[in-house]
Amino acid sequence: MLNRKAITASMLSAVLLLSACSKGNNDAGTDSASQPAGNASAPAGKKVELRMSWWGSDERHERTQKAIELFEQKNPGITITGEYSGFDGYMDKLNTQIAAGNAPDLIQMGGNIKEYVDKNALLDLKPYVGGILNLDDFNEGLVKSATFNDKLYGVTLGVSSSSLLYNASMFEKAGVALPTDQWTYEDFKSSAIEIAAKLGKGHYGSYDLSSDVATLASYLGGVGKELYRDGDRRFEKQDIVGWFAIWDELRKAGAIVPADVQVANPPTAVDKSLLVNGQVAIQGASASQIFGFQELTQDRLALALFPNGPAGSGMVQPISGQYLTAYEGTEHPEEVAKFINFFVNDPEAGVILGSTRGVPPSGKIRDTLAAQSTPVDKVLYDYISLVSDTAPPVVYQQFPLDNEFTKLLQVTSEKIAFKAKSIDSAVDEFMTEVDKLLLKAKAQ
């Protein structure tokens, strides 16, 4: 008896549920049916709605919105809705949107642009170059960096360069001369040792940069080698041994951050870096990061080139830090291209945006901005100009499977720093693994 009642009850609820579902479907059906009608009437009024997504913190949000408002004023009929957030989760959200075919028309993109090109998620902007989109003011390397298979997938928003970020106040406190444009690894070593010695326990001349790919690449350039070119490594075992020997010497002299401390306070995290609180004088960083670091300390921070080697400078020309890209599925590619052009070339927009995305790539905009820069801006602009002027004009080739290579260097460096392996045997392993990576890259 009870059982039958229960069955009836559950049947009843199932029926209710089903009808609720079908009602929902009907609603959605009428919704989507009415939508195309709305769109159809839109072209008559020439109303175009675009979405743009970017990540950043409050200052970038504010400036970007102001630039968007300026664009809307100048181009009645086009409205752009900003979808902005912090960096956490930005890429995850984008991936989800792309999977669902719902990505914004304009997408701010970082160094991982290739990944999205491979996913066929980005629009080829080449057809608009020279017409709607003017890139005359951009140097060729910047255009090339977003060009894949002869198609242009993004426009550089800001350039940056790898650098040594240093705490100038610590140099002064220790009475050590500041780095010069011509300094060598000998200078680097003696400065680091002296700072550590003069400032006492808990203070170090430099972070352990033996695991930093950018620094290693410049070192190899300085000894007349290269990290990678056209499918092969361009360095030998003794180069890497020489590299780790420098850091070993500094480690034994107590001039660089010990491995355990470095793992707990990685220089890459601005809130954990010991440079900010005056314990470490030098670390590696992307030059435009100086803003974030300088805000957190009253010490004076500055940027230095990587030390020269016997073969001169191993610096690499400034590279694109961020791109503005267009979604492959956008319905208004022309308006999108128009906005990108405005965003990177319009002098008014340039003034509004400032250097919130690194140093502006267009030379004209940079000149306008230099006239009204803050001291930190100036340090950065001067540094970027210095790198452009002094770095050898070779086009840097990134090691393929970049993430795996970075990891490999990190592991090798830690094995040596934690004394798990001698330099010689760790480098032997490193070379074997590098060759394996190269084979793997070729096979792809």
Binding site: A28, S53, W55, F87, G89, T96, L296, T356
Partner: protein, 280 residues
Amino acid sequence: MVINGKMFRSVVFHALVLGCGLIMLYPVFWLLSSSVKPTTEIFTSKSLWPTEFTFQHYSKGWFGLRNIQFGRFFLNSIYLCLVAVIGTVISSSMAAFAFARIQFPLRNLFFALMLGTIMLPGHVTLIPQYIMFHKIGWVDTFLPLIAPKFVGDAFFVFLIVQFIRGIPKELDESAKIDGCGWFTLFFRIILPLSFPALITAAIFTFMGTWDDFFGQLIYLSDIKKFTVPLGLRLFLDSSGSSNWGAVFAMSVLSILPSLIIFFLGQKYFTQGIATTGLKG
């Protein structure tokens, strides 16, 4: 002597507990102190006591965003949490009652299936779910975050089932003899008696929704619909510069609602957890 020894032990015990408590509270103190420190001092000074008190982080955090105030994020979060709590409690308690008390065909199979959904990692369903909600046209509304709460949450169903199983069956029997049907039995007998479990589910849901970042990030795009976790991240750019002071100031404010809810419900909260699974 005996009393002295007892007192001594009690003093030591309390000092120890207090010490451990302080250590665990250290991050909270740090957060509080950082929210009133000048930006240049946050990561450089080791002292918890700021050299100079500043409340500009609070005003900057609250009013600092263009066209929107942080209060809006609080209202959105509170709305989301309240609806989520109501939905979860109603749907989960009904499902739990059915599983615990009603004999229906394939009950055990359905129960196992339901438990199975707990094991399913959220990442697996993320994209299909997003596509589904996108097709219905719910993306950039609160619905994808609210609607699922109204069809029950496996974990809370399980929790409440365990609790209801602890309520003596004799109560059901006598209620039935007095002429109660399933609905009156549920509303008059079971629901009031499982109050602690319901409160537990409500608090967990509230805190889970309040702290949820990823779901809200994925589904909400318009800044007017942003919630507190999304609002906090607006100040953070790990690849560039962040407005740490504002993040910490707003974080301090954002832990207040959870704190208040927890203290209000604390009595039931511990009761709810302690009594589930014990047969009465």
